[in-house]
């Protein structure tokens, strides 16, 4: 059954993806949820919570307010919290119960904006998708609301799109000579930098969470984008060696291995956003049974250690911890993804 996970954990969810994407931008992020989302997020899906301030809250929705559609409490609580905390903007996220009763988040955003005088926008989540969807929607909604066209261009300026600790907790991106980073979306960054993004000449997409906002900036500001390492240009053949995980990162690693060692790896993409991100030899899988089946003939597997639980014992397994899968379990072993030699030796 596609929906049953006998032993494999699920990826970080969309609500956590939303929070991770906007963490450092000075906004107040409100998850309309009874309880649990915030604790799950800050325990398992966030490395910054202990030391770095971010105004991320839940609404504490109760049954009566959910059933009667009492949005006033939600709105009043947000307005009051803004008076206390003075955020730069407000972003709202959804969860299963408000999703089920059709809460009008766009209407609520408008009311909140009128009452606080702060930009307020809704990020489409419902807790039923993985982090790539939530972070992608968050970057896109933020860009639509907050970015303004600029006549000024920074020569050689690039934006890094799709960088969150969920995918790149220890990655130091290698910037081509002559290029300057204008903004990083959105890890080790600031609101001030991110708002300069329209001044860049090129967008570099480093995970699928950055793809939608790259498309948006291409349409709105004429900024072209490249996928990390232009990995799709590297032709790979069908193989029984697999890299399991997020498609851009997996594709990038597969291309690096092919270039350096000539060995083919196929990507088994296990996160949601994959359109236009896979080579013909790659596949997309959803759920434990599908992934287990796809791995059944594997000779070598590169992936988060959790995937070893459903891998054939005959396959050689190369551990590549991914924070959005195994969370804190292998946090200290997550490598800099730019440094292939730190996590891959040709068998």
């Amino acid at each position: 059954m596609k929906k049953a996970y006998k032993i494999l954990p699920v990826y970080t969810g969309d609500v956590s993806g939303f929070a991770s994407a906007l963490y450092e931008l000075g906004g107040m992020l409100v998850i309309h949820d009874p309880s649990g989302c915030n604790s799950t997020y800050n325990t398992h899906d966030e490395v910054r919570w202990y030391k770095q301030e971010a105004l991320i809250y839940i609404s504490g929705l109760n049954d009566i307010d959910a059933i009667t559609g009492n949005d006033d409490k939600f709105i009043n609580d947000i307005v009051r919290a803004c008076e206390d905390m003075q955020p730069k903007f407000i972003a709202l996220a959804n969860s299963p119960l408000p999703y089920l009763n059709g809460t009008d988040f766009k209407g609520i955003s408008k009311i909140v904006e009128d009452r606080t005088g702060l930009p307020c926008f809704y990020v489409q989540t419902n807790a039923m998708h993985d982090y790539t969807k939530g972070a992608s929607e968050a970057f896109l909604a933020f860009a639509k609301k907050m970015l303004k066209p600029s006549d000024k261009k920074i020569e050689g300026g690039i934006n890094i799109l799709g960088s969150t600790p969920l995918d790149h907790v220890n990655t130091e991106f290698v910037i081509p000579e002559g290029k300057t980073v204008v903004s990083n979306w959105a890890y080790k960054t600031s609101l001030e930098d991110v708002l300069k993004a329209p001044q860049a000449e090129l967008n570099l997409v480093v995970s699928s969470t950055g793809l939608a906002v790259a498309e948006y900036m291409k349409t709105e500001f004429g900024i072209p984008y490249e996928l990390m390492g232009s990995y799709l240009d590297c032709k790979r053949e069908k193989s029984r060696n697999y890299i399991v995980g997020e498609p851009i990162i997996s594709g990038y690693i597969a291309a690096q291995i092919k270039k350096r060692y000539g060995t083919d790896y196929n990507v088994i993409a296990t996160t949601e956003i994959t359109d236009g991100l896979l080579s013909v030899c790659d596949i997309k899988c959803h759920g434990e049974d599908e992934i287990r089946s796809a791995l059944s003939d594997a000779e070598i597997i590169i992936g988060d250690p959790m995937f070893e639980l459903i891998s054939p014992k005959t396959a050689k397994f190369i551990k590549l911890p991914h924070f959005a899968m195994s969370g804190r379990l292998y946090r200290k072993e997550i490598p800099d993804l730019m440094r292939l030699e730190d996590y891959y030796n040709e068998p």
């Binding site: 049953a4 504490g60 109760n62 969370g327």
Partner: protein, 430 residues
């Protein structure tokens, strides 16, 4: 008295039992308290199955992963189509659980199934689900868990109801003269007068938190009387005792000498003759060590935080702040005492939005925190790392607690490493 919209308030100005208004909620990075996953694993060999959306699943499955218990945990993921079609939710739940159980190497004797808020909100027929699962797996005992935090503000919490459901499968056994202690997640400590004094009288004490086998767990129903040692276990213990026809005594860890004597009397034991004196002596030693350094405590540390506050203040300690969001109605007497005798003691909310920017103490001296949340809010590395009273009780418990305070004041801890870990006392592979 009106509830306060501020994040902290003098106790003399605080409404009882709910000092603070509701609002958006902050979550501090202190996670030593147990959640429903930790609690469920107290039943030996039980397998847990959660049926919920991705984002909700993440917290519980990673709890199990960090305990090294993924082989006793499975998930059924709900998606949009489960919400749209009538009957789909029941079908997905039943077929998902069936699929999981059929794929396990061995059928577990006990399975805790956790439907969620969505099941309630959609009017899902829960009885039908359990009836069908029981027909399909007649050799499995199904425990009716629930992960529905949407209900917790107005009624019982999911963990209270889980404890009750877990006790529901304990069979009524023959009375064998033993005493069962139930309801608390912390095993009875060696410094616990309930255990020490009963065992000194030759009475067998069975501890729910220490069961190593399923047989041990089921044998909890062989007792002649039951002690509930923690507020969250009271609902389940009351129902358990009613069902099996046993008397119950409620004995949460308290710092009130008279209450200790009275409770011990109810279970037929006589307190040690010098209990009060030896506690007073230990208090004097602690007072010498701490001097006028500030103390802060939080509600997760002990089941009766205001009893502890009263004990400390009445013994001359400089207790400044108590971190809590609500007060147990059973603590009214201690609340009133504090209002009269220490009106400037501050009650501090842990969930208020301003908690994110909680200011540290102005004191240039060490602050001793009791509990993980207090440690985080105070920004101190001197703290007593304890939840639920740590399995302590009575005069032996108080003396042990004082020793923990002494040690915590002398030896700093790595707060950032310790308090984000989940489930203090559970296995942890981090």
């Amino acid at each position: 008295m009106q509830t306060s919209s501020e994040d902290r308030i003098r106790i003399a100005d605080a409404a009882f039992p709910k000092p603070f208004n509701g609002g958006l909620e902050f979550n501090a990075p202190a996670h030593g308290t147990w959640n429903i996953v930790h609690i469920g694993f107290k039943i030996p060999r039980a397998h847990q199955i959660y049926i919920c959306a991705d984002n909700c699943m993440r917290g519980v499955v990673m709890t199990a992963a960090e305990m090294g218990e993924l082989n006793r945990f499975s998930s059924v993921i709900l998606e949009e189509d489960d919400m749209v079609f009538a009957g789909r939710l029941e079908e997905s739940t039943i077929e998902g659980v069936t699929d999981v159980l059929n794929s396990l190497p061995e059928l577990p004797p006990v399975v805790i199934v956790f439907p969620v808020c969505v099941h309630k909100f959609m009017g899902c027929d829960i009885n039908f689900i359990y009836d069908e699962l029981s027909k399909r797996f007649p050799d499995v005992k199904f425990v009716r868990g629930f992960m529905d935090p949407v209900m917790q503000k107005r009624g019982t919490t999911p963990d209270q109801r889980l404890r009750k459901a877990m006790f529901d499968i304990i069979p009524e056994g023959e009375k064998d003269g033993s005493v069962t202690v139930i309801g608390c997640d912390m095993p009875l400590a060696k410094d616990n007068d309930i255990r020490k004094l009963l065992e000194a009288q030759g009475v067998t004490v069975r501890d729910e938190a220490s069961c190593e086998t399923l047989e041990d767990y089921y044998a909890l129903g062989n007792c002649s009387s039951v002690i509930c040692s923690y507020p969250a276990g009271l609902l389940g213990t009351t129902a358990f005792c009613k069902r099996i026809g046993r008397p119950m005594v409620y004995m949460p860890f308290t710092f009130d000498y008279d209450a200790i004597d009275e409770a011990l009397g109810q279970i037929g034991v006589v307190p040690v003759f010098n209990g009060r004196v030896s506690c007073d002596r230990a208090v004097a030693g602690l007072k010498t060590l701490l001097g006028d350094n500030e103390i802060a405590l939080d509600y997760t540390a002990v089941p009766r935080p205001l009893s502890l506050a009263r004990f400390l203040i009445s013994n001359g300690f400089n207790l400044k702040r108590i971190y809590l969001d609500a007060i147990d109605p059973d603590e009214k007497e201690d609340f009133d005492w504090l209002v009269s005798n220490a009106p400037d003691t501050m009650l501090c909310a842990t969930m208020h939005v301003k908690g994110r920017r909680q200011g540290k103490s102005d004191s240039d001296k060490k602050v001793l925190a009791i509990g993980q949340k207090a440690a985080w809010f105070e920004g101190t590395e001197y703290f007593v790392n304890i939840i639920e009273g740590g399995g302590l009780y009575g005069y032996a418990g108080i003396k042990a607690f004082i020793k923990l305070m002494e040690d915590a004041f002398i030896v700093p801890k790595d707060t950032e490493d310790i308090i984000p870990r989940k489930g203090l006392g559970c296995a942890c592979v981090l």
